[in-house]
Each structure stands twice: as structure tokens, then as C-alpha cells.
């Protein structure tokens, strides 16, 4: 993702507040590095005996899962296997029937301030400019952070446009900037790339990986694309009928090459496992 010259921005009338100068050639250096240290560490998640049903259908059954801080976890599985439900339970958007989810040892009741959620749709407010969308939920004194965050996803030059003129990939990038501006310690991704074309998708994967490495938050990605899961994650979890069918560490070095033999072999193996597992009736 090329980072355009910052000077273009300084010409803008409304955002000319003094800001830390960035070297445009070094995208990895961000102002987030001068933040207090807790923003750099991910959250630890512990899930114990989690169950959830919708009516008579058991979606999750006695699920146990520990996620170490700062780890990138991908959850894959057939549609209807409960992967999105699990993510919504972790986020606090929905409540479990039984079982507990603790983050850093504390049970959370509602939506956690440390967690941010990216949906399959960008869910930008159409009546707000791009920058105002990123500012959602920020206090006034925090507004300069919004532009930094937009800069990280390479969209600072589009700050004053309406979301409706952006492409699908750009909208997701704005949504990503909006999540990151809160310096989350946990980023939950519910198939955020599902609706994008293949090329945009690869770009977004690289962007997410880069930002995850820079910020150090814990990441949980729900995806139906096994190759995407293996490319991005440290750990791939396969759900089948509400249970963990496979829990695989991916110890490949980063940045990962899409042509890597081992990476492709792992993807094939997981795919094979999904295809041969019995289908719930």
C-alpha cells in the first residue's frame, strides 16, 4: 500500500492541526508507537464450556478455547458450523446459553471497550464523510487520531468524500481504520473480505497482516476461505457441528508467500478434512 506524500494533506483546510511528522517512505513507523504500552499488547481470551442454541438447533456445544495475547487465530468451517456465532459471543454482541468467556481473566458482560468488530459489510454511515465515519465514538480531542488511522490504510486523501463514492475494498479499509482508531486489543473479523474481488482481497490481507504486526492486538478471523486462514493466521481452528474438529498451529515464517508449498499443502489438508467430515442433517 503506497503511502502518498503527507504534504497534500496539510493543504486541507480543516485538518491542519499540528501532527507528528511521518516519513512517507516508512509506513511501519506510526504515531501509535508513542502510545502507552497497553495498546500494544493483545488481549487473552479464555472460553470455557460455551454452548449456544437457536431454538432446537445447537450451534455451539461445550466449546473450550484459549487464545494467547497477540495471536492471530482463524476460524474456518462449513457455513452454519457456528463460527460467526462464536465470534459474536466473544464480542459480546450475543449472549451464550451456558459457559464463560473471560478476557484477561475478567468475565465480560456486554460489548468490550477493548474489542472491535469488523463485519462482512463495511457498515459505514452514508451520511457522514469518510473521516467522520472514522471519528465515530471518538471524543473531540481524539479527532487527530482519525486521520492517522486513515493514513495507515492509505485513504487519507479521500477523507472528505462520502462513503458512497468509494469502492467496496476502500469502504472496508475505512471500516478497518475506524476499528483501529480505538486502539483495540482484540480485533474480531467476521468475513470482512468475503464480498471483495480476489485482487482487492489479497491487498486487504496484506494490510490486515501488516497492521496486526504493528499494533500487536489479538485477532480472530472468521472466514470460509481456508487459504486465507492459513496465509494470515498463527493458528487455524476448524469448527464442525459446534465443536472444534481441528486446532492447527501454522508455524510458517512471515511474510508468507502465496506460492509456498507447505502453505498450500496445509490448506489442502484442512479442506480435505472439511469435505470428508459428515454433514449435519
Amino acid at each position: 500500500m503506497p503511502i502518498p506524500n503527507i504534504n497534500i494533506l496539510k493543504a486541507g483546510p480543516s485538518y491542519s492541526r499540528p501532527e507528528p511528522t511521518l516519513n512517507p517512505r516508512k509506513p511501519k513507523m506510526t504515531v501509535f508507537e508513542i502510545k502507552p504500552s497497553n495498546t500494544l499488547s493483545g488481549i487473552e481470551i479464555e472460553i470455557k464450556n460455551l454452548s449456544k442454541s437457536f431454538g432446537d438447533i445447537k450451534v455451539l456445544e461445550n466449546l473450550n478455547l484459549d487464545i494467547k495475547p497477540g495471536v492471530f487465530v482463524a476460524i474456518v468451517g462449513r457455513s452454519g458450523c457456528g463460527k460467526s456465532t462464536l465470534l459474536r459471543l466473544i464480542s459480546g454482541l450475543d449472549r451464550a446459553d451456558t459457559g464463560t468467556i473471560t478476557s484477561d481473566g475478567k468475565a465480560h458482560q456486554s460489548i468490550d471497550g477493548d474489542a472491535r468488530f469488523m463485519f462482512q459489510e463495511a457498515r459505514l454511515l452514508p451520511w457522514r464523510s469518510v473521516i467522520d465515519n472514522v471519528r465515530l465514538g471518538l471524543k473531540k480531542f481524539q479527532f487527530p487520531k482519525a486521520l492517522n488511522s486513515l493514513r495507515e490504510v492509505g485513504l487519507e486523501t479521500r477523507a472528505n468524500e462520502w462513503p458512497s463514492v468509494l469502492s467496496g475494498g476502500q469502504r472496508q479499509r475505512v471500516a478497518l481504520a475506524r476499528s483501529l482508531v480505538h486502539e483495540p486489543r482484540l480485533l474480531l473479523l467476521d468475513e470482512p473480505l468475503g464480498a471483495l474481488d480476489a485482487l482487492t482481497r489479497i491487498e486487504m490481507q496484506n494490510l490486515i497482516e501488516r497492521l496486526w504486526q504493528e499494533h500487536g492486538f489479538t485477532s480472530i478471523l472468521v472466514t470460509h476461505d481456508i487459504f486465507e486462514a492459513v496465509t494470515l493466521a498463527d493458528r487455524v481452528i476448524l469448527l464442525n457441528e459446534g465443536k472444534i474438529d481441528l486446532d492447527l498451529e501454522i508455524n510458517l515464517p512471515r511474510p508468507r508467500q502465496r506460492t509456498d508449498v507447505e502453505l498450500n499443502r496445509l490448506s489442502e489438508e484442512i479442506l480435505e478434512r472439511i469435505l470428508t467430515s459428515p454433514i449435519a442433517s
Binding site: 464480542s91 454482541l93 460489548i111 471497550g113 472491535r116 468488530f117 463485519f119 459489510e121 457498515r123 454511515l125 452514508p126 451520511w127 457522514r128 465515530l136 465514538g137 468524500e161 462520502w162 458512497s164 463514492v165 475506524r178 480505538h182
Partner: protein, 269 residues
């Protein structure tokens, strides 16, 4: 706003495109003038356009017409303000709070089904032929379109966006001002445009039946003296005021709904 591809006219003829809406009325009026001049239409039935302009000049010179227009506009505006704000308040209240909806909606729907103009005899008994009666009727007339569209607009708010707002820890007030109200705004503005129609309609009827001033009174008064030119003039004034009000509402839409692709005029990317 056009959904169709633009075609380019030669430079000297661009005005035709921008003013094409006026071509037909101008043609019809010209035809009418010719018809009246040649005696195809009796002037007692429909006076010639130039005679009407003549009447307009005379009446405005005497200050009579301006006075009546001001009085009518004032009634319309006050009625709209009262009825509109009550409609907006109840629309928002019932749209957002389920208990209020359950408690009030039945009553409101029942009242809505009474044609408000049927209340005129009762209103005359209550208020006489003073200002209050007319303002009451106008307020009643504009209340429902604004109420219904506000309510509908709020119900149409995207649940996905509301969920997103919850993820971002917005409090109920922020959810309302940043998500619910803006989603309802297009619908509220449609309600406003409907309401403006009802506003003039109600006023016309109220002014012709019970009044001693205003455009409607001017028309009824002229009828007694068979001044058809003044009667037609009054009708035209209503049409013009109606058009002005609608244009104002449309401008408001363009201003407030800039974000909406259908309302965007030009966008410098």
C-alpha cells in the same frame, strides 16, 4: 439527479434543457390568450391572461393583494410549524419507544381516518371565523403526513448500522442523533413535501368558507361581483405559493441529503 445519461446540447441552446419544464405552461397560456382574444372563450367564464395580469397589477397597487397574500402565508406557516412539530415529535416518540407506539398509535390512526376538512363546521363553532380555526385546521392537515413519514423513516433505520453503533459503544442519545435520525431524514423530508400540499389545500378550503381576509376571501369576494379575473388570479396565486413552498422543500432536501447519491448535484472527486 437524472438517472439517465446526459446528452449535450449546443451551447446556445442549453437554456432549453434547464428551463424545459416551463415550455408547456408558456405554450398553454399563449394559446389561452389567443382563444380569449378571439372570443372562443367568454370572458365571464375564463378571462384572458392579460386581463388577469391587469387585475393583479391593480390589486397590488391598491395593496389589497399583497395584504391578503401575507395573511394567507402567515396562516400557512404558523399551521405548518405547529402541526409539523407535533407530527415530528410523535413520529419520533412512537418510532423509538415501543410502549409509546402501542399506547398512542391506535388513537392517531383513528383520528387520521377522519377527513379533517369535515371538521370545518365544528371548528367554526369552536373558534368562530378568526385565525385560530384556520391555523388549527392547517396544523391538523400537516400533522399526519409528517407523523406517518417520520415514524416510517425511523422504523426503516438499518439494524446493521444500529448494531455497528452498539459495537462502538454509542449511548442511546448518540445512536439516535448519529444513526436513527439521519436514516429517517429522507423520509421525513418526503413527509414535509406532502405536508406542504395539505397545508395549502386545507387553507384554501378554510379561507373560502369562513374568513374575512386572505386569498380565499379575495376570491369569494370577487365571485359576488362576477370578477372572474380576480378569481382566476387567486387560483394562480395559490399555485405559485404551492410551487414556491415545494421548491423550498426540495432545496432543503438537496442541502440535507447531499450524502445520498440520488440527491447529489455535482461531486468534485
Amino acid at each position: 439527479m437524472s438517472q439517465f445519461p446526459h446528452y449535450q446540447l449546443p451551447k446556445g441552446l442549453r437554456w432549453i434543457k434547464s428551463s424545459s419544464g416551463w415550455l408547456l405552461p408558456i405554450f398553454l397560456i399563449a394559446f389561452w390568450e389567443i382563444a380569449a382574444r378571439n372570443g372562443w372563450i367568454a370572458s365571464k367564464i375564463l378571462p384572458a391572461p392579460l386581463d388577469i395580469i391587469h387585475a393583479a397589477v391593480n390589486l397590488s397597487l391598491s395593496g389589497n393583494m399583497t395584504q391578503n397574500i401575507l395573511i394567507s402565508t402567515k396562516r400557512a406557516a404558523i399551521g405548518l410549524l405547529i402541526g409539523g412539530s407535533i407530527g415530528l415529535t410523535f413520529g419520533l416518540l412512537n418510532g423509538v419507544f415501543k410502549p409509546a407506539d402501542r399506547f398512542l398509535d391506535t388513537t392517531i390512526q383513528m383520528i387520521r381516518n377522519v377527513p379533517h376538512l369535515a371538521l370545518i363546521p365544528l371548528v367554526i363553532i369552536w373558534f368562530g371565523i378568526g385565525e385560530e380555526g384556520k391555523i388549527f385546521l392547517v396544523a391538523l392537515g400537516v400533522f399526519f403526513p409528517i407523523y406517518v413519514n417520520t415514524y416510517h423513516g425511523i422504523k426503516m433505520a438499518d439494524p446493521q448500522l444500529l448494531e455497528m453503533g452498539r459495537v462502538y459503544n454509542l449511548n442511546p442519545w448518540q445512536l439516535f442523533t448519529q444513526i436513527i435520525f439521519p436514516s429517517a431524514l429522507p423520509s421525513i423530508l418526503v413527509g414535509l413535501r406532502y405536508a406542504l400540499g395539505f397545508m395549502w389545500l386545507t387553507l384554501i378550503v378554510a379561507e373560502t368558507i369562513a374568513t374575512t381576509s386572505g386569498i380565499g376571501y379575495m376570491a369569494m369576494n370577487a365571485r359576488e361581483f362576477m370578477q372572474t379575473d380576480v378569481v382566476v388570479l387567486a387560483i394562480l396565486i395559490y399555485a405559485l405559493l404551492g410551487k414556491l413552498a415545494d421548491s423550498a422543500a426540495h432545496l432543503l432536501e438537496l442541502k440535507l441529503l447531499q450524502w445520498h447519491p440520488n440527491f447529489r448535484r455535482t461531486k468534485n472527486a
